[in-house]
């Protein structure tokens, strides 16, 4: 769930919302309205235009996650900072595919962002960069979430 949407929800429902949060916390899988599919998220981010796979988006993720709850993701967009409006990180099979939206200005110096995301299962992680001209470029990498166990 996007932070803004979440806060708005609490405001609207008021006191009842607190109860809802408890229920939500118990339940591991967000249901109903919380679900944002990858397709839908990509549509919203790119204004319906979609994104083209590009070598300019360097996405660094582990091949096999050490801990699915905190998977390190690094994105470096090899474009002048003036040319990059935003970086978005998506997880294709999470209930909410939209993990991070980062809006940049030239004062950021370069189009680079690193964070940790939670992955519910093995899936593709996608980084999208929206450029100044409104077009979008992306890179995708599979990340395996596993109980592990060989020697």
């Amino acid at each position: 769930m996007r932070r803004r949407a979440f806060l708005k929800g609490i405001g609207a429902i008021g006191a009842v919302a607190l109860l809802d949060i408890k229920v939500l916390a118990k339940d591991t899988k967000p249901k109903g309205k919380n679900a944002i599919t990858f397709k839908k998220a990509l549509e919203v981010i790119t204004n319906g235009k979609g994104a083209k796979t590009s070598d300019k988006v360097k996405l660094i993720v582990p091949e096999i996650a050490e801990n699915g709850a905190v998977v390190p993701v690094k994105v470096n967009v090899e474009e002048p900072i003036e040319n990059v409006k935003s970086i978005h990180i998506l997880a294709t099979k999470n209930s909410n595919a939209r993990c991070a939206d980062v809006f940049l200005t030239p004062r950021n110096g370069r189009a680079y962002f690193a964070t940790r995301i939670k992955l519910g299962q093995s899936q593709d992680v996608v980084a999208v960069a929206v450029l100044k001209d409104g077009s979008a470029i992306m890179a995708s990498r599979p990340v395996k979430v596993t109980i592990g166990g060989c020697g």
Partner: protein, 585 residues
């Protein structure tokens, strides 16, 4: 040490029972001497000697290579996924030779009687010193790809110290790690203080946000060594999946991973800034993973691989990077001679030297070293607890007899419906009629987290777990494999279609002869992994180290007779050792 002809022993062709027709040499294939073993065409001025996956075997042992080594169809029959006849054919090795004995399971029992045990540090030392003498001490480096400190009772009981002593004796110059870490971070640091070698790893990163060195490498990423007048840059790659394959608690605060982006960075740094003449990756990635690394990272001359225990008699060259791997359990020393001039590798020659302990004289100091470390435990470890009717071995993709014995022992003690034993690739081999010693049980189970846990697991979870493990073993992309074999299960049978996509490979899953009930809780016993964390109602009063469980069971039974019949039916391959394209003879 100067070794002359007399120091080498010789096995004449005593028996005429082996089919040796079709040999090109006038000499019989089974007539071999240590001189043949050492025979080598010197190249250049630099020699890298390579060992990997010793698994703490200070003494010679029998080690039978797999009779089933299956993988995704695109990988079957390629180096890393070859066994038996397909292996002999790929590498052009004649049956019933010393090489065939060391590299495959074929005729193992009769060849074992003829050629004897393999490895042992005292025998390795003789070979290593002979090469040092021949090439000049300063021109030879001994590199160790790890999985050295763990695997035997003497390693476990001395918390790795006996093995570090043996490494110092052999003169290891540089090493990386995997099972080393299962002694825990603190012990690793203590042992590294005792070790006279560089421990390097570009892919172990401090992951503790409160640490001063957050996001920095824990160990030096590389070492630069001078040998034969050349500058050799050696980058370390420890096992990338240590924190998922082994308990996280041992390496809390450290992050692993392949980290090919930083690896590329170090290769470039060594070449451009440090001006080395040759870049070597000392790796515990696994043989097939390192072939992928060669495809993805530019500028590495040689990868000295490890982890997957493959004997690699011939190097593999991909995109200008040459990959070698030297088997396991001390069976081999890899010799790589390199001709370097004007800052470039011009030529090389490689040989996988078999440590045939009946042909190579043991170094006296080595025998003393082994004796020193075994002495306090000799009585306990040499105790005979039973006798085996058939060969007890570890390896194979789904089933091996020693694992079946362990599973049987666990079921007998824990009264569980299912037992899980990990698909490790280390252990030992006992020949038909051999006594079973306490030491042998440890050779199969000596780990720092040996407890058997008994708990309940839902049918659906078991089914999902098996799919998960199958994907670690059979993923068509080596970068997503963890390099072990399938977990061994007792009480479970299934069919598997290896070529099927992830999550859909396992069919006809049965628990004790009945179709699995996805909604029922099953009583499961497991060791050597973290399955217990996925279960519930842990039987705390039943927790016991697996080596004790197995020792008591063998003592109780006396005579051990384990069936060779696998509990797994493979749907898409007709044999255990197919050639490329999945072809069986």
């Amino acid at each position: 040490m100067n070794i002359d002809r007399r120091d080498f022993l010789h096995i004449a062709a005593a028996l005429g029972i082996f089919g040796v027709s079709g040999l090109k040499a006038s000499k019989r294939a089974d007539d071999i001497s240590a001189e043949d073993i050492m025979d080598f065409k010197e190249t250049g001025k630099v020699t890298l000697l390579h060992i990997c996956d010793l698994h703490a075997h200070l003494k010679p042992l029998y080690w039978r290579e797999p009779s089933t080594l299956l993988s995704a169809p695109n990988l079957v029959g390629t180096p890393g996924f070859l066994c038996g006849k397909a292996f002999l054919e790929f590498y052009g090795i004649k049956p019933n030779t010393l090489e065939a004995y060391f590299d495959t399971y074929l005729n193992f029992e009769s060849l074992a009687k003829k050629f004897g045990k393999m490895g042992g540090v005292a025998h390795m030392k003789t070979v290593i010193e002979e090469i040092r003498r021949e090439r000049g001490k300063d021109n030879v480096l001994l590199l160790d790809s790890g999985d050295t400190w763990q695997g035997t009772a003497v390693a476990l009981k001395t918390a790795g110290e006996a093995i570090v002593d043996a490494q110092n004796y052999l003169g290891v110059d540089v090493m990386v790690g995997h099972w080393e870490f299962t002694y825990g971070k603190e012990r690793v640091m203590e042992l590294l203080d005792k070790l006279n070698a560089d421990f390097i790893s570009q892919n172990i990163i401090d992951n503790d946000p409160f640490s001063d060195s957050f996001e920095e490498v824990v160990f030096p990423p590389y070492a630069i060594k001078e040998a034969g007048g050349a500058k050799i840059g050696i980058i370390g790659q420890s096992f990338p999946f240590t924190s998922t394959a082994n308990p996280k608690r041992f390496t809390e605060g450290w992050s692993f991973g392949l980290r090919l982006d930083t690896l590329q960075g170090y290769v470039d740094e060594l070449r451009k800034e440090k001006k080395v003449d040759c870049v070597v990756l000392l790796s515990h990635d696994g043989f097939s993973v390192d072939q992928e690394v060669a495809r993805k990272v530019r500028g590495i001359d040689f990868i000295l691989s490890g982890h997957t225990h493959d004997p690699g008699p011939r190097p593999v060259t991909i995109n200008g990077t040459t990959i070698v791997i030297a088997g396991s359990h001390g069976k081999f020393v890899g010799r790589l001679d390199i001709d370097i001039s004007k800052g470039k590798v011009r030529d090389f020659n490689y040989k996988l030297i078999p440590i045939a302990s009946n042909l190579i004289k043991a170094d006296k100091k080595g025998l003393e070293l082994v004796d020193k470390w075994y002495r306090p435990y000799r009585k306990e470890l040499n105790k005979v607890i039973g006798k085996t009717k058939g060969t007890l071995y570890k390896r194979d993709t789904f089933y091996s007899t020693f694992d079946a014995l362990i599973g049987e022992a666990i079921r007998d003690k824990m009264d569980c419906e299912i037992s899980f034993t990990p698909g490790y690739r280390w252990g030992t081999t006992l020949l038909p009629g051999d006594d079973i010693l306490v030491d042998n049980v440890y050779e199969m189970t000596a780990i720092t987290y040996a407890d058997v846990y008994t708990f309940e697991l839902k049918g659906a979870r078991i089914a999902q777990l098996l799919e998960d493990i199958a994907d670690n073993v059979f993923n068509p992309n080596p970068l997503y494999q963890q390099g072990g074999d399938m977990s061994r299960l007792v009480g479970v049978s299934y069919d598997i279609k290896i070529s099927e996509k992830s999550g859909k490979r396992i069919k006809n899953l049965k628990i004790n002869g009945k179709e699995i009930d996805l909604n029922r809780d099953y009583v499961v016993s497991a060791w050597g992994g973290n399955l217990q964390n996925a279960g519930k109602n842990l039987r705390e009063n039943l927790i016991e180290p697996v080596y004790d469980v197995v020792t008591k069971y063998v003592e109780k039974k006396g005579k051990i007779d384990i069936s060779n019949r696998s509990n797994v039916n493979v749907l898409d391959f007709d044999c255990g050792c197919p050639k490329k394209g999945g072809i069986c003879e």
